[in-house]
């Protein structure tokens, strides 16, 4: 039994931690959730339908994340501070990587700020690549509900003002960046001809 249990852990550990990490955005809490999930797996090993083990684990992880989110609400200020620090680190990093890192950081914040089940569905489907059937089993929703919630979640992400602003800045920077390069090229050519 223990060998099978360890095998199940190896198979699902990264997925569970990723789900918790993108849901909570605090590494320690994500690790706590992962531990809780596998402790519950050990406790309920005899009762679980092992053909649907993945869905069961994701369901437990989802419930555990919801519990953590409830507990974290009073500490929201700390989390915002965490996000600010992360942004600051992004600003201080290599200038070439700044845009993408900053955008990804904001994207993760935006995902975390989604309400459930939108958040869980986006993580499961778009980050973890789970099938609709797996998501249905994990969240106990119908297929049509999963699709509707997924589309709504993506729309909510698109409506995030910070993300849109960053995207538009990037577009503007790219178009501005192209212009000087062309000018420099022209100048070089021009100077070459003059000489």
């Amino acid at each position: 039994m223990r060998a099978l249990y360890l095998q199940a852990i190896d198979q699902h550990r990264h997925r569970i931690l990723s789900f918790a990490h993108y849901s909570l955005r605090v590494r320690e809490n994500a690790e706590d959730v992962t531990q809780e999930v596998f402790i519950k797996l050990w406790q309920h090993w005899q009762k679980i339908d092992h053909e649907k083990l993945g869905a069961w684990l994701m369901r437990v992880a989802h419930n555990s994340v919801i519990d953590h989110v409830r507990k974290q609400r009073p500490q929201q200020a700390n989390l915002d501070h965490y996000a600010e620090v992360e942004d600051q680190v992004g600003k201080e990093s290599d200038a070439n990587q700044f845009d993408q890192q900053h955008f990804k950081s904001q994207l993760q914040n935006a995902i975390k700020s989604l309400e459930d089940p939108f958040r869980s569905i986006v993580i499961m489907r778009d980050i973890q690549g789970m099938s609709y059937e797996e998501i249905q089993g994990s969240l106990e929703l119908s297929a049509s509900q999963v699709k509707v919630y997924l589309h709504r979640a993506r729309r909510k992400l698109r409506e995030n003002s910070k993300l849109r602003q960053l995207f538009e800045e990037q577009i503007a920077d790219k178009s501005e960046a192209k212009q000087p390069i062309a000018l420099v090229a022209n100048t070089d050519k021009g100077s070459g001809h003059a000489q």
């Binding site: 990490h21 993108y22 992962t34 993760q108 778009d126 980050i127 993506r154 992400l157 698109r158 995207f167």
Partner: protein, 208 residues
């Protein structure tokens, strides 16, 4: 009031996710793409949606390192011992179930003998003074008794068992006398008394 163009853009933008997921039919896809190519607002919105979708999909899977699961491994190792404990419990229960089939007097006799053994062991410890506790603590090996000690202990044990048997027999006799012999005797005596009284009184009528 939204114009026809605006409502068309709204409708097309609702289909962005369907297009990105590949859920649109060929005809729907054609209409969608032709509109996006012609409409600047929808083109921009589509590009934004696609960029966002790609960025989400590029977010990496987080590696769960071994130290995260260390408490789990230690817990499950303890859990396997707990499982063995459960098996032991069930074995004890089975033995207790078997004991139910053993005759009552044997069970009581056995437990009485057990009590006697314990009593003898305790009395031996009380009578024989412990000379050097330090040596007892220091020596982890099993204590050795001389054959004389063992013989004496067995003798005392036999005496104790005999005594308990006698007590048990007396108890049985007392219980038998109290609940079986005495009532029978009383009943028989009463019958004799009634018979003697009837013999004294002459019968006036016939037997019927």
């Amino acid at each position: 009031m939204p114009s026809n163009g605006e409502s068309k853009c709204y409708f097309m933008q609702l289909q962005i996710d369907g297009y990105l997921d590949g859920d649109l039919s060929e005809a729907q896809e054609g209409v969608f793409m032709s509109h996006v190519q012609d409409c600047l607002a929808c083109s921009s919105e589509f590009r934004y949606a696609q960029t966002l979708q790609d960025a989400v999909m590029e977010l990496p899977q987080i590696e769960c390192e071994d130290f995260v699961l260390e408490p789990i491994h230690s817990l499950t190792a303890g859990g396997s011992q707990a499982k063995e404990g459960v098996h032991r419990d069930s074995l004890v229960t089975q033995i207790a179930g078997l004991l139910n089939f053993v005759p009552l007097y044997f069970r009581y006799g056995f437990s009485a003998a057990l009590v006697a053994v314990v009593a003898v062991a305790i009395s031996l410890n009380v009578v024989i003074p412990i000379e050097e506790p330090e040596t007892l603590v220091a020596s982890d090996s099993v204590e050795e008794f001389s054959p004389q000690d063992i013989a004496l202990a067995l003798q005392q044990l036999n005496v104790a068992i005999d005594y308990l048997n006698q007590v048990s027999q007396r108890t049985e006799v007392m219980i038998g006398d109290r609940f079986l012999v005495t009532p029978l005797q009383d009943s028989i005596n009463a019958s004799f008394q009634r018979a003697s009284i009837r013999e004294d009184v002459p019968l006036n009528d016939g037997p019927i």
